[in-house]
Symmetry: C2
Subunit: 300 residues, 2 copies
Amino acid sequence: MQTLLTESLTYLETSLERYKQEIEKNIQRFIETEIDSRFREEVKHILEGGKRLRGATIMMISELLNGDKDKAMRAATAIEIVHSSSLAIDDIIDMDTKRRGKDAAWVAFGVGKTILVTNVLIPKAVEMVIPLGEKAVKEVLSTWSDVSRGEILDSYQEDADYIEVIELKTSRMYELAFVLGALSAGEERLLDTMKTIGREIGTLYQVLDDFIDTIFVKSKGEKERLSLERFNKWIGIETGNIDKDELVSKVRVIVNQYLRKLDSSIQKLPFKKLRDILSVLPYYMIQKQLSEFGLNLPLP
Amino acid sequence: MQTLLTESLTYLETSLERYKQEIEKNIQRFIETEIDSRFREEVKHILEGGKRLRGATIMMISELLNGDKDKAMRAATAIEIVHSSSLAIDDIIDMDTKRRGKDAAWVAFGVGKTILVTNVLIPKAVEMVIPLGEKAVKEVLSTWSDVSRGEILDSYQEDADYIEVIELKTSRMYELAFVLGALSAGEERLLDTMKTIGREIGTLYQVLDDFIDTIFVKSKGEKERLSLERFNKWIGIETGNIDKDELVSKVRVIVNQYLRKLDSSIQKLPFKKLRDILSVLPYYMIQKQLSEFGLNLPLP
Protein backbone atom coordinates (compact mmCIF):
# COMPACT_ATOMS: atom_id res chain seq x y z
CA MET A 1 0.00 0.00 0.00
CA GLN A 2 2.70 2.46 0.98
CA THR A 3 4.49 1.68 -2.32
CA LEU A 4 1.40 2.48 -4.37
CA LEU A 5 1.03 5.78 -2.53
CA THR A 6 4.67 6.65 -3.10
CA GLU A 7 4.41 5.72 -6.76
CA SER A 8 1.25 7.75 -7.23
CA LEU A 9 2.80 10.70 -5.47
CA THR A 10 5.88 10.52 -7.69
CA TYR A 11 3.70 10.33 -10.81
CA LEU A 12 1.65 13.28 -9.56
CA GLU A 13 4.63 15.46 -8.77
CA THR A 14 6.41 14.63 -12.02
CA SER A 15 3.44 15.23 -14.27
CA LEU A 16 2.26 18.40 -12.54
CA GLU A 17 5.78 19.82 -12.88
CA ARG A 18 6.07 18.77 -16.53
CA TYR A 19 2.69 20.26 -17.39
CA LYS A 20 3.52 23.44 -15.51
CA GLN A 21 6.47 23.93 -17.91
CA GLU A 22 4.32 23.21 -20.97
CA ILE A 23 1.59 25.60 -19.82
CA GLU A 24 4.22 28.25 -19.16
CA LYS A 25 5.42 27.95 -22.77
CA ASN A 26 1.88 28.15 -24.12
CA ILE A 27 1.10 31.24 -22.06
CA GLN A 28 4.24 32.89 -23.46
CA ARG A 29 3.15 31.95 -26.98
CA PHE A 30 -0.30 33.39 -26.27
CA ILE A 31 1.23 36.66 -25.05
CA GLU A 32 3.49 36.96 -28.09
CA THR A 33 0.85 36.15 -30.68
CA GLU A 34 -2.49 37.33 -29.24
CA ILE A 35 -1.63 40.47 -27.29
CA ASP A 36 -1.15 43.99 -28.62
CA SER A 37 2.55 44.81 -28.11
CA ARG A 38 1.57 48.19 -26.66
CA PHE A 39 0.39 46.54 -23.44
CA ARG A 40 2.22 43.24 -23.59
CA GLU A 41 4.33 44.08 -20.52
CA GLU A 42 1.20 44.61 -18.45
CA VAL A 43 -0.24 41.27 -19.60
CA LYS A 44 3.06 39.53 -18.76
CA HIS A 45 3.00 41.09 -15.32
CA ILE A 46 -0.48 39.71 -14.66
CA LEU A 47 0.03 36.26 -16.17
CA GLU A 48 3.57 35.38 -15.09
CA GLY A 49 4.62 33.61 -11.92
CA GLY A 50 1.70 31.33 -11.08
CA LYS A 51 2.02 27.78 -9.78
CA ARG A 52 -0.25 26.63 -12.66
CA LEU A 53 -1.75 24.01 -10.35
CA ARG A 54 -5.25 24.35 -11.81
CA GLY A 55 -4.00 24.13 -15.39
CA ALA A 56 -1.63 21.24 -14.68
CA THR A 57 -4.48 19.37 -12.98
CA ILE A 58 -6.54 19.69 -16.17
CA MET A 59 -3.64 18.35 -18.27
CA MET A 60 -3.05 15.44 -15.91
CA ILE A 61 -6.71 14.42 -15.69
CA SER A 62 -6.98 14.67 -19.47
CA GLU A 63 -3.91 12.45 -19.91
CA LEU A 64 -5.27 9.88 -17.45
CA LEU A 65 -8.51 9.83 -19.47
CA ASN A 66 -6.69 9.62 -22.83
CA GLY A 67 -8.01 13.07 -23.67
CA ASP A 68 -7.14 15.38 -26.56
CA LYS A 69 -3.92 17.16 -25.58
CA ASP A 70 -4.59 20.28 -27.65
CA LYS A 71 -7.99 20.70 -26.02
CA ALA A 72 -6.51 20.13 -22.56
CA MET A 73 -3.82 22.75 -23.22
CA ARG A 74 -6.46 25.25 -24.37
CA ALA A 75 -8.44 24.65 -21.20
CA ALA A 76 -5.32 24.80 -19.01
CA THR A 77 -4.17 28.07 -20.53
CA ALA A 78 -7.67 29.51 -20.28
CA ILE A 79 -8.07 28.63 -16.59
CA GLU A 80 -4.69 30.16 -15.76
CA ILE A 81 -5.59 33.37 -17.61
CA VAL A 82 -8.93 33.64 -15.80
CA HIS A 83 -7.35 32.75 -12.44
CA SER A 84 -4.48 35.26 -12.82
CA SER A 85 -6.92 37.96 -13.92
CA SER A 86 -9.14 37.31 -10.92
CA LEU A 87 -6.10 37.65 -8.63
CA ALA A 88 -5.21 41.00 -10.24
CA ILE A 89 -8.79 42.13 -9.60
CA ASP A 90 -8.80 40.78 -6.02
CA ASP A 91 -5.67 42.76 -5.26
CA ILE A 92 -7.49 45.95 -6.23
CA ILE A 93 -10.44 45.07 -4.00
CA ASP A 94 -8.27 44.00 -1.05
CA MET A 95 -5.68 46.73 -1.65
CA ASP A 96 -2.98 44.07 -1.52
CA THR A 97 0.24 45.57 -2.81
CA LYS A 98 2.24 42.40 -3.48
CA ARG A 99 1.49 39.35 -5.60
CA ARG A 100 3.71 36.45 -6.64
CA GLY A 101 6.80 38.18 -5.25
CA LYS A 102 6.38 41.45 -7.13
CA ASP A 103 4.17 44.54 -7.03
CA ALA A 104 0.47 43.86 -7.56
CA ALA A 105 -0.67 44.87 -11.06
CA TRP A 106 -2.63 47.92 -9.85
CA VAL A 107 0.47 49.14 -7.98
CA ALA A 108 2.67 48.59 -11.04
CA PHE A 109 0.47 50.25 -13.66
CA GLY A 110 -2.67 51.60 -12.02
CA VAL A 111 -6.20 50.45 -11.26
CA GLY A 112 -7.65 51.58 -14.59
CA LYS A 113 -5.21 49.79 -16.84
CA THR A 114 -5.40 46.65 -14.69
CA ILE A 115 -9.19 46.53 -15.06
CA LEU A 116 -9.01 47.03 -18.81
CA VAL A 117 -6.25 44.46 -19.33
CA THR A 118 -8.28 41.82 -17.47
CA ASN A 119 -11.21 42.73 -19.72
CA VAL A 120 -9.03 42.09 -22.76
CA LEU A 121 -7.78 38.77 -21.34
CA ILE A 122 -10.85 37.05 -19.94
CA PRO A 123 -12.91 36.96 -23.17
CA LYS A 124 -9.85 35.59 -24.98
CA ALA A 125 -9.67 32.80 -22.40
CA VAL A 126 -13.33 31.94 -22.94
CA GLU A 127 -12.82 31.89 -26.72
CA MET A 128 -9.96 29.44 -26.22
CA VAL A 129 -12.24 26.69 -24.91
CA ILE A 130 -14.81 26.87 -27.73
CA PRO A 131 -13.32 23.72 -29.35
CA LEU A 132 -14.15 21.80 -26.14
CA GLY A 133 -17.85 22.38 -26.80
CA GLU A 134 -20.79 24.35 -25.46
CA LYS A 135 -20.68 22.76 -21.98
CA ALA A 136 -17.08 23.91 -21.51
CA VAL A 137 -17.91 27.46 -22.61
CA LYS A 138 -20.87 27.56 -20.22
CA GLU A 139 -18.76 26.25 -17.36
CA VAL A 140 -16.03 28.86 -17.87
CA LEU A 141 -18.61 31.65 -18.07
CA SER A 142 -20.59 30.59 -15.01
CA THR A 143 -17.42 29.98 -13.02
CA TRP A 144 -16.16 33.42 -13.69
CA SER A 145 -19.49 35.01 -12.83
CA ASP A 146 -19.69 32.92 -9.64
CA VAL A 147 -16.12 33.71 -8.56
CA SER A 148 -16.90 37.42 -8.92
CA ARG A 149 -20.11 36.97 -6.93
CA GLY A 150 -18.14 35.16 -4.24
CA GLU A 151 -15.67 38.02 -4.07
CA ILE A 152 -18.54 40.52 -3.68
CA LEU A 153 -20.02 38.51 -0.80
CA ASP A 154 -16.58 38.00 0.74
CA SER A 155 -15.65 41.67 0.65
CA TYR A 156 -18.92 43.47 1.20
CA GLN A 157 -21.44 41.11 2.81
CA GLU A 158 -20.71 40.79 6.52
CA ASP A 159 -23.46 38.26 7.21
CA ALA A 160 -22.64 35.94 4.29
CA ASP A 161 -22.15 32.29 5.12
CA TYR A 162 -18.52 31.08 5.21
CA ILE A 163 -19.07 27.93 3.17
CA GLU A 164 -21.20 29.75 0.58
CA VAL A 165 -18.50 32.35 0.09
CA ILE A 166 -15.56 29.96 -0.26
CA GLU A 167 -17.49 27.57 -2.49
CA LEU A 168 -18.02 30.48 -4.89
CA LYS A 169 -14.74 32.32 -4.44
CA THR A 170 -12.33 29.38 -4.36
CA SER A 171 -13.95 26.00 -4.99
CA ARG A 172 -15.66 27.01 -8.26
CA MET A 173 -12.30 27.41 -9.98
CA TYR A 174 -11.21 23.94 -8.82
CA GLU A 175 -14.52 22.48 -9.98
CA LEU A 176 -13.82 24.08 -13.33
CA ALA A 177 -10.39 22.44 -13.52
CA PHE A 178 -11.84 18.99 -12.89
CA VAL A 179 -14.74 19.56 -15.30
CA LEU A 180 -12.50 20.82 -18.12
CA GLY A 181 -10.13 17.89 -17.60
CA ALA A 182 -13.04 15.51 -18.20
CA LEU A 183 -14.49 17.55 -21.09
CA SER A 184 -11.15 17.66 -22.91
CA ALA A 185 -11.48 13.86 -22.98
CA GLY A 186 -15.16 13.97 -23.97
CA GLU A 187 -16.12 12.28 -20.68
CA GLU A 188 -19.39 14.11 -19.97
CA ARG A 189 -20.67 11.28 -17.79
CA LEU A 190 -17.98 12.13 -15.19
CA LEU A 191 -19.01 15.77 -14.80
CA ASP A 192 -21.06 15.47 -11.59
CA THR A 193 -18.41 13.46 -9.78
CA MET A 194 -15.65 15.73 -11.07
CA LYS A 195 -17.52 18.80 -9.83
CA THR A 196 -17.91 17.28 -6.40
CA ILE A 197 -14.22 16.38 -6.18
CA GLY A 198 -13.20 19.85 -7.34
CA ARG A 199 -15.51 21.53 -4.85
CA GLU A 200 -14.26 19.41 -1.97
CA ILE A 201 -10.60 19.97 -2.83
CA GLY A 202 -11.16 23.70 -3.23
CA THR A 203 -12.96 23.97 0.08
CA LEU A 204 -10.25 21.98 1.86
CA TYR A 205 -7.63 24.27 0.34
CA GLN A 206 -9.43 27.44 1.46
CA VAL A 207 -10.07 26.18 5.00
CA LEU A 208 -6.37 25.47 5.40
CA ASP A 209 -5.48 28.80 3.84
CA ASP A 210 -7.71 30.63 6.31
CA PHE A 211 -6.29 28.54 9.15
CA ILE A 212 -2.74 29.52 8.15
CA ASP A 213 -3.75 33.17 7.80
CA THR A 214 -5.37 33.16 11.24
CA ILE A 215 -2.23 31.81 12.86
CA PHE A 216 0.57 33.39 10.84
CA VAL A 217 -0.58 36.60 9.18
CA LYS A 218 -0.09 39.42 11.63
CA SER A 219 -1.24 42.56 9.83
CA LYS A 220 -4.60 42.15 8.19
CA GLY A 221 -6.43 44.58 5.95
CA GLU A 222 -10.10 45.40 6.50
CA LYS A 223 -11.32 42.96 3.85
CA GLU A 224 -9.10 40.14 5.13
CA ARG A 225 -10.39 40.71 8.64
CA LEU A 226 -13.95 40.20 7.39
CA SER A 227 -12.99 36.87 5.74
CA LEU A 228 -11.17 35.60 8.80
CA GLU A 229 -13.91 36.61 11.21
CA ARG A 230 -16.30 34.62 9.06
CA PHE A 231 -13.89 31.66 9.21
CA ASN A 232 -13.48 31.90 12.98
CA LYS A 233 -17.23 32.10 13.51
CA TRP A 234 -17.78 29.07 11.26
CA ILE A 235 -15.18 26.98 13.00
CA GLY A 236 -16.37 28.13 16.40
CA ILE A 237 -13.48 30.08 17.91
CA GLU A 238 -13.37 33.62 19.19
CA THR A 239 -11.59 36.22 17.04
CA GLY A 240 -9.14 38.22 19.13
CA ASN A 241 -8.78 35.46 21.70
CA ILE A 242 -7.54 32.49 19.73
CA ASP A 243 -6.49 29.33 21.55
CA LYS A 244 -4.01 27.85 19.08
CA ASP A 245 -4.34 24.25 20.30
CA GLU A 246 -8.11 24.43 20.14
CA LEU A 247 -7.96 25.86 16.61
CA VAL A 248 -5.50 23.19 15.46
CA SER A 249 -7.63 20.38 16.81
CA LYS A 250 -10.81 21.79 15.23
CA VAL A 251 -9.10 22.23 11.87
CA ARG A 252 -7.74 18.70 12.11
CA VAL A 253 -11.26 17.32 12.51
CA ILE A 254 -12.53 19.29 9.52
CA VAL A 255 -9.57 18.35 7.34
CA ASN A 256 -10.16 14.69 8.13
CA GLN A 257 -13.85 15.02 7.30
CA TYR A 258 -13.03 16.52 3.92
CA LEU A 259 -10.37 13.90 3.22
CA ARG A 260 -12.94 11.17 3.87
CA LYS A 261 -15.52 12.89 1.67
CA LEU A 262 -12.93 13.26 -1.07
CA ASP A 263 -11.91 9.65 -0.83
CA SER A 264 -15.48 8.48 -1.23
CA SER A 265 -16.06 10.85 -4.19
CA ILE A 266 -12.87 9.74 -5.91
CA GLN A 267 -13.77 6.07 -5.50
CA LYS A 268 -16.83 6.70 -7.70
CA LEU A 269 -14.64 7.30 -10.74
CA PRO A 270 -14.62 4.34 -13.15
CA PHE A 271 -10.88 4.49 -13.94
CA LYS A 272 -8.39 2.85 -11.60
CA LYS A 273 -5.33 4.88 -12.54
CA LEU A 274 -7.29 8.15 -12.25
CA ARG A 275 -8.57 7.06 -8.83
CA ASP A 276 -5.07 6.15 -7.64
CA ILE A 277 -3.54 9.45 -8.69
CA LEU A 278 -6.39 11.70 -7.57
CA SER A 279 -6.39 9.94 -4.17
CA VAL A 280 -3.01 11.45 -3.34
CA LEU A 281 -3.73 14.90 -4.79
CA PRO A 282 -5.37 16.29 -1.61
CA TYR A 283 -2.40 15.16 0.50
CA TYR A 284 0.02 16.62 -2.00
CA MET A 285 -1.79 19.97 -1.95
CA ILE A 286 -2.11 20.11 1.83
CA GLN A 287 1.54 19.22 2.24
CA LYS A 288 2.59 22.01 -0.13
CA GLN A 289 0.43 24.53 1.68
CA LEU A 290 1.64 23.60 5.13
CA SER A 291 5.31 23.13 4.33
CA GLU A 292 5.63 26.79 3.31
CA PHE A 293 5.03 27.57 6.96
CA GLY A 294 7.17 24.76 8.38
CA LEU A 295 4.07 22.74 9.25
CA ASN A 296 3.60 19.09 8.46
CA LEU A 297 0.88 16.53 7.84
CA PRO A 298 1.81 12.88 7.37
CA LEU A 299 0.41 10.81 4.50
CA PRO A 300 -2.44 8.49 5.51
CA MET B 1 -39.06 59.88 -52.66
CA GLN B 2 -39.64 62.22 -49.74
CA THR B 3 -42.68 60.14 -48.77
CA LEU B 4 -40.65 56.94 -48.66
CA LEU B 5 -38.08 58.65 -46.43
CA THR B 6 -40.76 59.94 -44.11
CA GLU B 7 -42.43 56.53 -43.99
CA SER B 8 -39.13 54.80 -43.27
CA LEU B 9 -38.29 57.30 -40.57
CA THR B 10 -41.68 56.80 -38.93
CA TYR B 11 -41.25 53.03 -39.04
CA LEU B 12 -37.74 53.38 -37.58
CA GLU B 13 -38.77 55.66 -34.75
CA THR B 14 -41.82 53.60 -33.88
CA SER B 15 -40.06 50.26 -33.85
CA LEU B 16 -36.97 51.49 -32.00
CA GLU B 17 -39.20 52.97 -29.32
CA ARG B 18 -41.34 49.82 -29.08
CA TYR B 19 -38.28 47.58 -28.83
CA LYS B 20 -36.72 49.87 -26.24
CA GLN B 21 -39.74 49.20 -24.01
CA GLU B 22 -39.56 45.46 -24.59
CA ILE B 23 -35.81 45.35 -23.87
CA GLU B 24 -36.38 47.37 -20.72
CA LYS B 25 -38.86 44.75 -19.50
CA ASN B 26 -36.50 41.91 -20.29
CA ILE B 27 -33.62 43.60 -18.47
CA GLN B 28 -35.87 43.99 -15.41
CA ARG B 29 -36.79 40.31 -15.65
CA PHE B 30 -33.09 39.42 -15.92
CA ILE B 31 -32.29 41.47 -12.82
CA GLU B 32 -35.11 39.91 -10.80
CA THR B 33 -34.39 36.31 -11.78
CA GLU B 34 -30.65 36.10 -12.44
CA ILE B 35 -29.09 38.46 -9.93
CA ASP B 36 -28.31 37.79 -6.27
CA SER B 37 -30.65 40.04 -4.28
CA ARG B 38 -27.71 41.11 -2.10
CA PHE B 39 -26.31 43.28 -4.93
CA ARG B 40 -29.40 43.75 -7.08
CA GLU B 41 -29.48 47.49 -6.41
CA GLU B 42 -25.95 47.87 -7.76
CA VAL B 43 -26.85 45.91 -10.90
CA LYS B 44 -29.96 48.07 -11.40
CA HIS B 45 -27.85 51.18 -11.05
CA ILE B 46 -25.49 50.00 -13.80
CA LEU B 47 -28.13 48.65 -16.19
CA GLU B 48 -30.92 51.21 -15.91
CA GLY B 49 -31.37 54.35 -17.96
CA GLY B 50 -29.80 53.52 -21.33
CA LYS B 51 -31.24 54.54 -24.69
CA ARG B 52 -31.10 50.84 -25.74
CA LEU B 53 -30.28 51.93 -29.28
CA ARG B 54 -27.91 49.01 -29.91
CA GLY B 55 -30.38 46.45 -28.59
CA ALA B 56 -33.35 47.98 -30.41
CA THR B 57 -31.33 47.96 -33.64
CA ILE B 58 -30.79 44.21 -33.23
CA MET B 59 -34.52 43.64 -32.69
CA MET B 60 -35.45 45.77 -35.67
CA ILE B 61 -32.96 44.14 -38.04
CA SER B 62 -34.09 40.74 -36.86
CA GLU B 63 -37.74 41.62 -37.50
CA LEU B 64 -36.94 42.93 -40.99
CA LEU B 65 -35.17 39.61 -41.69
CA ASN B 66 -38.01 37.52 -40.20
CA GLY B 67 -35.64 36.43 -37.44
CA ASP B 68 -36.35 34.49 -34.26
CA LYS B 69 -37.68 37.01 -31.75
CA ASP B 70 -36.48 35.12 -28.67
CA LYS B 71 -32.94 34.98 -30.07
CA ALA B 72 -33.06 38.67 -31.01
CA MET B 73 -34.21 39.57 -27.49
CA ARG B 74 -31.38 37.52 -25.98
CA ALA B 75 -28.86 39.32 -28.18
CA ALA B 76 -30.41 42.73 -27.48
CA THR B 77 -30.36 42.19 -23.72
CA ALA B 78 -26.80 40.86 -23.88
CA ILE B 79 -25.49 43.83 -25.87
CA GLU B 80 -27.12 46.29 -23.48
CA ILE B 81 -25.59 44.50 -20.48
CA VAL B 82 -22.12 44.52 -22.04
CA HIS B 83 -22.49 48.14 -23.17
CA SER B 84 -23.73 49.37 -19.77
CA SER B 85 -20.94 47.46 -18.03
CA SER B 86 -18.35 48.98 -20.30
CA LEU B 87 -19.69 52.46 -19.50
CA ALA B 88 -19.43 51.73 -15.76
CA ILE B 89 -15.81 50.69 -16.33
CA ASP B 90 -15.05 53.71 -18.55
CA ASP B 91 -16.32 56.03 -15.83
CA ILE B 92 -13.73 54.56 -13.45
CA ILE B 93 -10.95 55.04 -16.00
CA ASP B 94 -12.04 58.57 -16.95
CA MET B 95 -13.01 59.49 -13.38
CA ASP B 96 -16.36 60.68 -14.71
CA THR B 97 -18.69 61.20 -11.76
CA LYS B 98 -22.04 61.32 -13.59
CA ARG B 99 -23.73 58.87 -15.96
CA ARG B 100 -27.26 58.79 -17.34
CA GLY B 101 -28.31 61.61 -15.03
CA LYS B 102 -27.18 60.00 -11.78
CA ASP B 103 -23.92 59.28 -9.95
CA ALA B 104 -21.52 57.00 -11.82
CA ALA B 105 -21.49 53.48 -10.37
CA TRP B 106 -18.02 53.85 -8.81
CA VAL B 107 -19.18 57.06 -7.08
CA ALA B 108 -22.37 55.37 -5.84
CA PHE B 109 -20.85 52.16 -4.47
CA GLY B 110 -17.09 52.20 -4.97
CA VAL B 111 -14.54 51.11 -7.57
CA GLY B 112 -14.13 47.59 -6.17
CA LYS B 113 -17.78 46.63 -6.15
CA THR B 114 -18.31 48.19 -9.59
CA ILE B 115 -15.51 46.06 -11.05
CA LEU B 116 -16.87 42.90 -9.47
CA VAL B 117 -20.47 43.54 -10.50
CA THR B 118 -19.40 44.01 -14.14
CA ASN B 119 -17.52 40.72 -13.82
CA VAL B 120 -20.72 39.03 -12.68
CA LEU B 121 -22.73 40.61 -15.50
CA ILE B 122 -20.58 40.24 -18.60
CA PRO B 123 -20.24 36.44 -18.54
CA LYS B 124 -24.01 36.19 -18.04
CA ALA B 125 -24.48 38.31 -21.16
CA VAL B 126 -22.20 36.03 -23.17
CA GLU B 127 -24.10 32.96 -21.93
CA MET B 128 -27.32 34.55 -23.10
CA VAL B 129 -26.32 34.41 -26.79
CA ILE B 130 -25.29 30.72 -26.80
CA PRO B 131 -28.60 29.77 -28.53
CA LEU B 132 -27.59 32.03 -31.45
CA GLY B 133 -24.65 29.75 -32.18
CA GLU B 134 -20.87 29.68 -31.97
CA LYS B 135 -20.37 32.66 -34.31
CA ALA B 136 -22.49 34.87 -32.07
CA VAL B 137 -20.58 33.79 -28.96
CA LYS B 138 -17.26 34.49 -30.69
CA GLU B 139 -18.46 37.91 -31.84
CA VAL B 140 -19.59 38.94 -28.36
CA LEU B 141 -16.28 37.76 -26.85
CA SER B 142 -14.05 39.42 -29.42
CA THR B 143 -16.08 42.63 -29.30
CA TRP B 144 -15.70 42.87 -25.60
CA SER B 145 -11.97 42.21 -25.77
CA ASP B 146 -11.58 44.75 -28.59
CA VAL B 147 -13.62 47.44 -26.83
CA SER B 148 -11.37 47.06 -23.78
CA ARG B 149 -8.28 47.24 -25.98
CA GLY B 150 -9.65 50.39 -27.60
CA GLU B 151 -10.18 51.94 -24.17
CA ILE B 152 -6.57 51.12 -23.20
CA LEU B 153 -5.26 52.78 -26.37
CA ASP B 154 -7.62 55.73 -25.93
CA SER B 155 -6.65 56.37 -22.33
CA TYR B 156 -2.98 55.43 -22.17
CA GLN B 157 -1.48 55.45 -25.67
CA GLU B 158 -0.77 59.01 -26.72
CA ASP B 159 0.46 58.11 -30.20
CA ALA B 160 -2.42 55.76 -31.07
CA ASP B 161 -4.24 56.45 -34.32
CA TYR B 162 -7.64 58.16 -34.00
CA ILE B 163 -9.49 55.87 -36.39
CA GLU B 164 -7.93 52.72 -34.89
CA VAL B 165 -9.04 53.79 -31.42
CA ILE B 166 -12.63 54.68 -32.28
CA GLU B 167 -13.09 51.62 -34.48
CA LEU B 168 -12.21 49.50 -31.44
CA LYS B 169 -13.77 51.60 -28.70
CA THR B 170 -17.04 52.58 -30.37
CA SER B 171 -17.61 50.99 -33.77
CA ARG B 172 -17.04 47.40 -32.61
CA MET B 173 -20.17 47.53 -30.46
CA TYR B 174 -22.25 48.79 -33.42
CA GLU B 175 -20.74 46.08 -35.63
CA LEU B 176 -21.85 43.60 -33.00
CA ALA B 177 -25.42 44.93 -33.06
CA PHE B 178 -25.67 44.52 -36.84
CA VAL B 179 -24.03 41.08 -36.74
CA LEU B 180 -26.28 39.78 -33.98
CA GLY B 181 -29.34 41.12 -35.79
CA ALA B 182 -28.40 39.02 -38.82
CA LEU B 183 -27.41 35.96 -36.75
CA SER B 184 -30.70 35.98 -34.84
CA ALA B 185 -32.26 35.43 -38.28
CA GLY B 186 -29.69 32.83 -39.32
CA GLU B 187 -28.45 35.14 -42.11
CA GLU B 188 -24.73 34.35 -41.96
CA ARG B 189 -24.21 35.43 -45.57
CA LEU B 190 -24.94 39.04 -44.55
CA LEU B 191 -22.24 39.18 -41.86
CA ASP B 192 -19.52 41.00 -43.82
CA THR B 193 -21.87 43.69 -45.09
CA MET B 194 -23.48 44.04 -41.67
CA LYS B 195 -20.07 44.48 -40.05
CA THR B 196 -19.16 47.19 -42.52
CA ILE B 197 -22.42 49.06 -41.95
CA GLY B 198 -22.02 48.79 -38.17
CA ARG B 199 -18.44 50.02 -38.33
CA GLU B 200 -19.33 52.97 -40.53
CA ILE B 201 -22.29 54.00 -38.37
CA GLY B 202 -20.22 53.66 -35.20
CA THR B 203 -17.39 55.75 -36.61
CA LEU B 204 -19.79 58.43 -37.82
CA TYR B 205 -21.37 58.53 -34.37
CA GLN B 206 -18.01 58.90 -32.61
CA VAL B 207 -16.73 61.58 -34.98
CA LEU B 208 -19.84 63.65 -34.28
CA ASP B 209 -19.56 62.96 -30.57
CA ASP B 210 -15.97 64.21 -30.54
CA PHE B 211 -17.00 67.22 -32.63
CA ILE B 212 -19.72 68.10 -30.12
CA ASP B 213 -17.32 67.58 -27.21
CA THR B 214 -14.72 69.82 -28.84
CA ILE B 215 -17.21 72.64 -29.26
CA PHE B 216 -19.46 72.31 -26.21
CA VAL B 217 -17.68 70.57 -23.38
CA LYS B 218 -15.80 73.17 -21.39
CA SER B 219 -14.09 71.28 -18.57
CA LYS B 220 -12.25 68.23 -19.77
CA GLY B 221 -10.52 65.57 -17.72
CA GLU B 222 -7.01 64.39 -18.55
CA LYS B 223 -8.23 61.29 -20.43
CA GLU B 224 -10.82 63.28 -22.40
CA ARG B 225 -8.17 65.78 -23.41
CA LEU B 226 -6.09 62.94 -24.86
CA SER B 227 -9.06 61.69 -26.95
CA LEU B 228 -9.93 65.15 -28.23
CA GLU B 229 -6.34 66.04 -29.10
CA ARG B 230 -6.25 62.85 -31.16
CA PHE B 231 -9.50 63.91 -32.86
CA ASN B 232 -8.24 67.41 -33.56
CA LYS B 233 -4.97 66.10 -34.99
CA TRP B 234 -6.86 63.66 -37.20
CA ILE B 235 -9.23 66.27 -38.53
CA GLY B 236 -6.40 68.76 -38.96
CA ILE B 237 -7.18 71.59 -36.56
CA GLU B 238 -5.08 73.04 -33.78
CA THR B 239 -6.11 72.23 -30.19
CA GLY B 240 -6.31 75.36 -28.09
CA ASN B 241 -6.89 77.57 -31.11
CA ILE B 242 -10.04 76.22 -32.68
CA ASP B 243 -11.67 78.04 -35.57
CA LYS B 244 -15.28 76.92 -35.21
CA ASP B 245 -16.26 77.56 -38.83
CA GLU B 246 -13.26 75.64 -40.10
CA LEU B 247 -14.07 72.74 -37.77
CA VAL B 248 -17.72 72.68 -38.83
CA SER B 249 -16.84 72.64 -42.52
CA LYS B 250 -14.28 69.87 -42.03
CA VAL B 251 -16.72 67.77 -40.02
CA ARG B 252 -19.39 68.34 -42.66
CA VAL B 253 -17.08 66.91 -45.35
CA ILE B 254 -16.30 63.84 -43.24
CA VAL B 255 -19.94 63.25 -42.31
CA ASN B 256 -20.89 63.38 -45.97
CA GLN B 257 -18.12 60.93 -46.86
CA TYR B 258 -19.38 58.48 -44.26
CA LEU B 259 -23.00 58.93 -45.34
CA ARG B 260 -22.01 58.05 -48.90
CA LYS B 261 -19.99 55.04 -47.75
CA LEU B 262 -22.93 53.90 -45.65
CA ASP B 263 -25.35 54.31 -48.51
CA SER B 264 -23.22 52.16 -50.77
CA SER B 265 -22.80 49.48 -48.07
CA ILE B 266 -26.52 49.40 -47.32
CA GLN B 267 -27.38 49.05 -51.02
CA LYS B 268 -25.50 45.72 -51.00
CA LEU B 269 -28.12 44.14 -48.76
CA PRO B 270 -30.49 41.82 -50.65
CA PHE B 271 -33.69 42.90 -48.86
CA LYS B 272 -35.52 46.00 -50.00
CA LYS B 273 -37.35 46.79 -46.78
CA LEU B 274 -34.14 46.37 -44.76
CA ARG B 275 -32.31 48.69 -47.18
CA ASP B 276 -35.05 51.32 -46.97
CA ILE B 277 -35.13 51.39 -43.20
CA LEU B 278 -31.37 51.20 -42.65
CA SER B 279 -30.89 54.02 -45.15
CA VAL B 280 -32.52 56.48 -42.77
CA LEU B 281 -30.88 55.14 -39.60
CA PRO B 282 -27.69 57.26 -39.94
CA TYR B 283 -29.77 60.44 -40.37
CA TYR B 284 -31.96 59.51 -37.44
CA MET B 285 -28.89 58.95 -35.23
CA ILE B 286 -27.13 62.12 -36.31
CA GLN B 287 -30.27 64.15 -35.78
CA LYS B 288 -30.70 62.78 -32.25
CA GLN B 289 -27.09 63.52 -31.40
CA LEU B 290 -27.17 67.07 -32.74
CA SER B 291 -30.61 68.07 -31.49
CA GLU B 292 -29.50 67.59 -27.88
CA PHE B 293 -27.25 70.58 -28.45
CA GLY B 294 -29.74 72.60 -30.48
CA LEU B 295 -27.92 71.76 -33.72
CA ASN B 296 -29.58 70.58 -36.88
CA LEU B 297 -28.88 68.52 -39.99
CA PRO B 298 -31.51 68.28 -42.73
CA LEU B 299 -32.51 64.95 -44.24
CA PRO B 300 -30.95 64.28 -47.68
